[in-house]
Amino acid sequence: MPAPYASVIIKLLQSHALYDTDDRAHWQQLETHEAAVRAHFAQLGMVLDLNRADGYARLTQPEPADDDPTPPLRLLRRVPLSYEQALLGVVLREWLEEHESSAHAASPHLFATREQLRERVELFFRQQPNQKAFLNKLDAIIERLTEHGFLKMTHKGDLHPDQTRYEVKPLLKAKISLEKLSEFLEKLRNHAESV
């Protein structure tokens, strides 16, 4: 007999994160069986990061200890982000902070149209004469962040693609953590000195 929380485990393995608002049923299962789910992943050397305030749960895999004779294989793959992609991530993280700390915002979620996303990030890139290629490039960056689960398309603008709406997921804050921000800054500083 599979455990009653088997689906939660599978969901966590299959998705970037489990959200309380997007998948209520599994979220509730997770709340009920949190200890058991944690124990299951602890066996694999993984840690369940359950953030109730932001309403998401995800898996992390800490580096194995140096003296571990048989370190487990990596299950979580590493995602390489280009400079542009990472920069949009940073800009979105800033936006999330703004959104969270504003006492006005009605919705706890942050929504943005593709146009607004582009506006936020385009000023960091030199405008190219080929405006169309430039826009395509920005769209590709947005696309890539969507693949990684930082953005979720909530409304597809078929007639007006620029009005396609995304939700900026709080997961982004966990992924682009303070350490990652420092790392980004460090690398960028090195780059700036080298050119």
Partner: protein, 487 residues
């Protein structure tokens, strides 16, 4: 400069929205349109932006409403009806006639602001004089409420006992009389109509006030938030604030009254009673042939439930948010991250002309490396297929062509092992480096096998813009896209 309350009415900007709308030259349009779409017919508290804009465009076109140019209106010349409608809605939100918020699905929604609710109700009460003014039932209501108030707040148990005794003897007297006469006195038609009207009015008022309640919660939240943002609090004080925030919100008179109301509404017994009563009332009205011209009360429960839930949700969302922003760790983290982002911004501008080109500038932890049924994954694998053009590099007349289809098997497992051996020391490695370390044994097929390993896993990158030249031996060379294997 601060104006005494009523003097403020002279100022165009300071007057409350309720007065502003009545004074504006578009009062007729605003009142008529909003009344028709939010209040008349089926009561709808929330309207989607798309829907409302469509209605407004139709309305403008039907009545041929044009911008009043001499009133300094927005220049609307040459705009389509739809554009005008969208512009008007934005304008009304700005002026405080409508609210605009994003719902859970990310769609824009409008509700009336509390001010506009009041104005519309007031105008309606002016235009629709009730056929008669019921005074009796309302006087009895007042009496009843006062009685409840006195009885339920006196703490003298003897007085309470005496009161209950009095009620019992009154009941006994009624029972005796009923047994003797065997006839009941029922409400006259006028009495029924009057009471129906009162209840309907109170229910409408209650729904309208929800908007006010929600707004008040928001104000309280904002006040608490400002308090903490304003002064430099000690660590302990800040923590205390965060803990109190939820309680403070809940313990306000309004919070407690609302919580009690919501409990009543969600009590299955009381819900069933409400439903049964509403049904009976309508049966009674039909039996007596009384025209109400107002079906509002029939749907009172779903309305109350829907609106109540919205207020409740927003209450908890606000409380959660307050807790979150006030938590000390959060404050510290936010400050730190904003400082870092600030520095990143400055540097990003500095390197604008020479941005880093490293395809793996920053590495994050992704999801589990499982194959899922999600379509994105399937799509990606197909997209990054190997460029077949490589085959054309070999000259067709070369007899070595056979090597391409040679029965020798390229052992992918060995190649994968080569890659992971090198990845143990480095986080990423190019195909060039792999080939340098482990020479090609099978020429082009082996290159293609490497390529297919890269194409089959999204963590590896194939950069088609950049071509590498590989030595196949015997003076033959092969051009192949740059491949970067990542850990």
């Amino acid at each position: 400069m601060s104006y005494p309350l009523y003097r403020g009415l002279f100022s165009a900007d300071r007057a409350p929205a309720a007065v502003r709308v009545l004074r504006s030259h578009e009062a007729a349009l605003v009142l008529c349109f909003l009344q028709e779409n939010f209040k008349a017919g089926s009561y709808a508290p929330v309207r989607a932006n798309d829907w409302l804009a469509g209605q407004l465009a139709d309305f403008l076109e039907t009545w041929d409403v044009r911008g009043d140019d001499d009133a300094g209106d927005l220049p609307t010349l040459g705009l389509s009806w739809a554009e005008r409608a969208a512009r008007l809605l934005r304008d009304w939100v700005r002026k405080g006639y409508l609210t605009l918020y994003t719902d859970e699905q990310g769609a824009d929604q409008h509700t009336l602001t509390p001010e506009l609710e009041s104005v519309l109700d007031w105008v309606q009460s002016l235009l629709h004089k009730p056929t008669f003014v019921g005074t009796e039932s309302r006087f009895l209501d007042i009496l009843q409420k006062l009685r409840e108030l006195v009885q339920n707040s006196a703490d003298d148990w003897q007085a309470r006992l005496a009161e209950l005794e009095k009620q019992r003897s009154a009941l006994d007297a009624q029972i005796r009389e009923l047994k003797l006469t065997k006839t009941v006195r029922t409400y006259e038609d006028y009495e029924v109509a009057e009471r129906y009207q009162t209840v309907s009015g109170v229910a409408r008022g209650l729904l309208r006030d929800f908007r006010e309640v929600e707004g008040n919660f928001r104000d309280i939240t904002q006040r608490i938030y400002q308090q903490q943002a304003a002064a430099g609090h000690t660590k302990g004080g800040l923590l205390g604030l965060a803990l109190d925030a939820l309680d403070e919100l809940r313990l306000t008179a309004q919070g407690r009254s609302f919580e009690a109301f919501y409990r009543h509404l969600n009590d299955p017994r009381q819900r069933a009673e409400l439903d049964a009563l509403v049904r009976q009332v309508f049966e009674l009205l039909t039996d007596r042939g009384l025209e109400t011209g107002d079906e509002f009360l029939r749907k009172i429960r779903p309305y109350l439930l829907g609106e109540g839930r919205k207020v409740n949700d927003s209450f908890y969302a606000l409380a959660r948010k307050l807790e979150k922003i006030l938590s000390e760790k959060n404050l510290r983290d936010r400050r730190k991250s904003l400082a870092l982002i600030h520095d990143i911004r400055a540097l990003a501008f500095a390197v604008m002309d020479n941005p880093p080109t490293d395809p793996a500038f920053l590495e994050l932890e992704g999801r589990a490396d499982y194959l899922t049924t999600e379509s994105t994954v399937a799509l990606k694998e197909r997209e990054s297929a190997i460029v077949p053009r490589v085959l054309a590099v070999a000259r067709p007349e070369e007899p070595e062509l056979a090597a391409l289809v040679s029965p020798r098997v390229v052992d992918k497992a060995r190649l994968a092992a080569n890659i992971s051996a090198l990845l143990r020391d480095q986080s990423q490695i190019t195909l060039r480096q792999v080939v340098a370390a482990h020479a090609l044994r099978h020429g082009v097929p082996e290159l293609m096998a490497y390529g297919s390993i890269a194409a089959n896993s999204p963590k590896h990158l194939i950069n088609r813009q950049q071509k590498d030249i590989f030595d196949l031996g015997d003076g033959r060379w092969c051009e192949f896209p740059e491949v970067i294997f990542c850990r």
